[in-house]
């Protein structure tokens, strides 16, 4: 009994005396696709930033969009690769935080509506009204391209998703949405067009079973957001340095390729005003 208690005490002490965090600059990213791909991509980004900024940099993987926003809000990470919606939410919660860089193609992002070929819905230029009455898979509940924008267009053309569709589900991420529609678990769904293109280029999509039936008009999406209170921890002008380093990633094709983007360009909070408005309109953003 005695030794157990001593060991317990030691354990508890060790637990609370854990490492006092040094000046590590931590960042996260919304888990929009397969984790290994994210690990691969952001591991490289962490190494690159460490070199450029001269501080220890750590990538913190998370399991949900909300966890990414929470980690940013709670100052567990100081930088994040957000989607349009998660970025807007994070900046509402953390005054002083700013969007600093985005992919050039993120200014004109799209959602692809996809359907199982068994539904016999043909690709069209205008919104596919034949979706009504089917089962439909969004991506994550907090995704811009997998939830916010597709829901916006569904509401505009058909009505509230839970009334329009026979069943509504949330797949969790875009790779998963494609799989679920291909297997027929859902008849149709909405995916990030970049993920679709990447998977297609790899030959990972069974085009006999799932295809694109409609492409939304363009909207702003992914971007890097940084917290505001970093000068005292990391030195004067730190935010500008980070922004420059991120834009400098454009000269590293192998990293840009993992993002499926050609280059990063400067971004600002007002680039995402449209997302905020859509979010408020469909009630996902409530303040």
């Amino acid at each position: 009994m005695h030794s157990i208690r001593i060991a317990l005490l030691a354990g508890v002490l060790l637990l609370w005396a854990g490492p006092v965090a040094g000046q590590t600059f931590a960042f996260t990213a919304i888990p929009d696709q397969d984790v290994t791909r994210l690990q691969d991509r952001f591991g490289k980004v962490a190494d690159y930033l460490e070199e450029e900024l001269g501080v220890a940099v750590r990538y913190v993987p998370v399991k949900s969009y909300a966890s990414a926003v929470n980690a940013f809000r709670n100052d567990q990470v100081q930088l994040a690769w957000f989607g349009g919606l998660s970025g807007v939410r994070a900046r509402l919660l953390v005054p002083g935080s700013r969007a600093i860089a985005q992919g050039a193609s993120d200014r004109r992002f799209r959602t692809y509506f996809i359907a199982n070929t068994a539904t016999k819905i043909e690709p069209t230029e205008s919104f596919p009204s034949g979706l009504a009455g089917l089962t439909f898979a969004f991506g994550s509940k907090g995704s811009t391209s997998g939830r916010l924008m597709p829901e916006h267009y569904i509401r505009k053309h058909l009505g509230p998703p839970e009334e329009v569709f026979q069943r509504v589900g949330f797949s969790g991420n875009h790779s998963q949405t494609i799989d679920l529609v291909a297997t027929g678990a859902y008849q149709a769904g909405a995916v990030n067009f970049k993920v679709w293109q990447t998977e297609q280029a790899k030959g990972a999509i069974d085009t006999d079973r799932v295809r694109v039936i409609w492409k939304t008009p363009p909207y702003p999406d992914y971007h890097w957001t940084i917290r505001g209170n970093l000068e005292e921890r990391f030195g004067k002008g730190f935010r500008r340095e980070v922004a420059q380093a991120l834009i400098g990633l454009s000269d590293h094709p192998e990293i840009m390729e993992s993002f499926s983007r050609e280059r990063f360009v400067p971004a600002s909070n007002k680039d995402y005003q449209r997302i905020l408005e859509v979010g408020r309109k469909i009630g996902i953003i409530e303040r």
Binding site: M1, S3, I4, I6, A7, L8, A10, G11, V12, L14, L15, W16, G18, P19, V20, A21, D34, V35, T36, V60, P61, V62, K63, S64, Y65, A66, S67, V69, N70, A71, R73, N74, D75, Q76, R89, L93, N116, A118, T135, S140, K141, G142, R167, G169, F170, G172, N173, S175, Q176, D179, L180, T183, G184, A185, Y186, I284, E286, R287
Partner: protein, 491 residues
């Protein structure tokens, strides 16, 4: 009308279960469910142990969280067991038990962040509630005859350690080891919300369709649990507990600012943050109840009742296969392994697997809950039936022997176990909503994804009260039928 009260109750529950079944969505929506199942099974038999280091670390962290969490829960629970006669202690313990570990983790994540403390508290807190109750029951049952033999003036603490603990030590040890096994399952599942345990890697492997890696992770987990009595030696426990914190890693910092903000701002109903009015509160509560709580409670109860009946049916069908009155030793071993796999796989992981294979409906959840809980009860009833002595006049035909002798003799014990697991099944039904079935967990997860902590906390409270209600109903029925389970025999 059947004369036996047990039979009448059983038939009523079966009728309710069937009525729920009629209203439930049971569709298999994937086009090739069996092909996926085939791929999955193939993955299980061709496990890939690549990146063994990562696998080992995941396993190590799973054990570390489990041991530290259960140890903290056990010490706290023992303290509470001593004052368990106090109403406040009993009510608080019942409340922390009523909320599933995964919900606790989701709650702590919001203000402690992705942090080892989140994982430890998510295990330690509900387990403290469980330990308090069971330890108190064990102490209650214990032989107190040694106490008067102590010299007069022996202090309270000495009295407790020298006269009461030794009497019940073996029960406490057995139960605590059993809880370590549960803690391992809980710890593994916490990975699904982002802690670095087995579930984290399982989720990733699944989403990539890498079934061989899934197979490797699951097999390692089964071996870990099957060998628990080999590696969990009393004299090794202090060593493990000392080493475990080193394995947890990550930041252990907690920002009080975040905690304060959570309790003073985030959980205040949205309409009331600029000032209180009854009208605003009414509309907030009205929306929450009609659009989220009510549909969530209905689905949760429907799933619970179906799963309860399915669990019972499975247990009754499976127990003869591990019972010496029906099968020989080789068959017994095979069934035993199947049941160990069934009960070692957390229901969350089972449901997750079936959901991937068959698509989203209640069916995967029902099958997962029935397999997990049915395996536990079948195992216990099998052991109980093994202890029965059958007379020389016992029917020779095994079916007749089953129906006319063995089942009637084990039936009350069976019902006791089943009703004991009723509230556990409900707690699990709620949590499975996170996977997309529209039980309470679905609405709680949505509230989290929408960053609506006010909704999340309110829904968690509703879930807890539903659980306490079912627990109370179960106790009333068990008392009415005079069913009894002894603490250490409880599943």
């Amino acid at each position: 009308m059947p004369r036996s009260a047990s039979l009448r109750t059983s038939l009523a529950f079966v009728a309710i279960g069937l009525a729920c079944l009629a209203s439930a969505d049971l569709a298999i929506t994937t086009l090739h469910p069996w092909r996926e199942l085939g791929r999955f099974t193939w993955g299980l038999v061709t496990p890939s142990f690549q990146e063994g280091g990562t696998l080992g670390l995941a396993l190590g962290k799973t054990v570390a969280f489990a041991l530290l969490g259960v140890a903290a829960g056990s010490v706290t629970g023992m303290g509470l067991a001593l004052i368990y006669h106090r109403r406040l202690v009993r009510v608080s313990a019942a409340f922390v038990r009523a909320v599933h570990e995964l919900f606790w983790a989701l709650l702590f994540l919001q203000f402690l962040g992705l942090n080892a403390i989140t994982g430890l508290l998510a295990i330690a807190l509900p387990y403290a509630g469980i330990f308090a109750k069971v330890y108190a029951e064990i102490l209650e049952e214990g032989d107190r005859s040694a106490e008067p033999a102590l010299p007069a003036g022996t202090g309270k603490i000495s009295r407790f350690f020298f006269a009461r603990i030794p009497e019940v030590w073996s029960h406490i040890r057995t139960y605590t080891v059993y809880r370590v096994e549960c803690g391992l399952r809980t710890s593994a599942v916490l990975g699904f919300v982002g802690l670095p345990t087995l579930g984290f890697y399982l989720d990733s492997a699944f989403l990539q369709g890498d079934y061989s890696r899934v197979g490797a992770l699951l097999l390692l987990f089964y071996v870990l649990i099957a060998l628990i009595r080999v590696w969990l030696r009393p004299w090794l426990v202090p060593l493990y507990l000392a080493l475990a914190p080193l394995l947890l890693g990550g930041s252990l910092q907690v920002s009080m600012g975040n905690v304060t903000r959570f309790f003073t701002q985030d959980i205040v109903p949205l309409g009331l943050r600029d000032g209180f009015s009854w009208e605003a509160l009414g509309s907030w509560a009205g929306d929450l109840l009609t659009q989220q709580a009510l549909p969530g409670v209905v689905s949760t109860v429907v799933l619970t009742q179906i799963a309860l009946v399915a669990t019972g049916a499975l247990a009754l069908a499976a127990f003869p296969l591990i019972c010496r009155h029906f099968v020989g030793r080789p068959e017994k071993v095979v069934t035993h392994i199947a049941l160990v796999v069934g009960r070692s796989t957390p229901e969350y992981i089972l449901a997750y697997i079936f959901l991937q294979l068959w698509g989203p409906s209640m069916l995967p959840a029902i099958v997962a809950l029935a397999l997990h809980n049915g395996a536990i009860i079948a195992h216990l009833i099998g052991r109980y039936a093994d202890a029965l002595q059958l007379g020389p006049d016992t029917p020779r035909n095994p079916l007749v022997r089953y129906g006319y002798e063995v089942v009637p003799r084990v039936y009350n014990q069976f019902l006791a176990f089943l009703f004991y697991r009723w509230e556990i099944i409900m707690r699990e039904s709620a949590i499975l909503g996170i996977l997309g079935i529209h039980t309470l967990g679905f609405y709680i997860d949505s509230a989290i994804q929408n960053l609506r902590m006010d909704h999340m906390v309110a829904l968690l409270l509703i879930t807890a009260f539903l659980n306490l209600g079912i627990d109370a109903a179960s106790r009333i029925i068990r008392a009415h039928l005079r069913l009894r389970t002894t603490p250490t025999y409880e599943p």
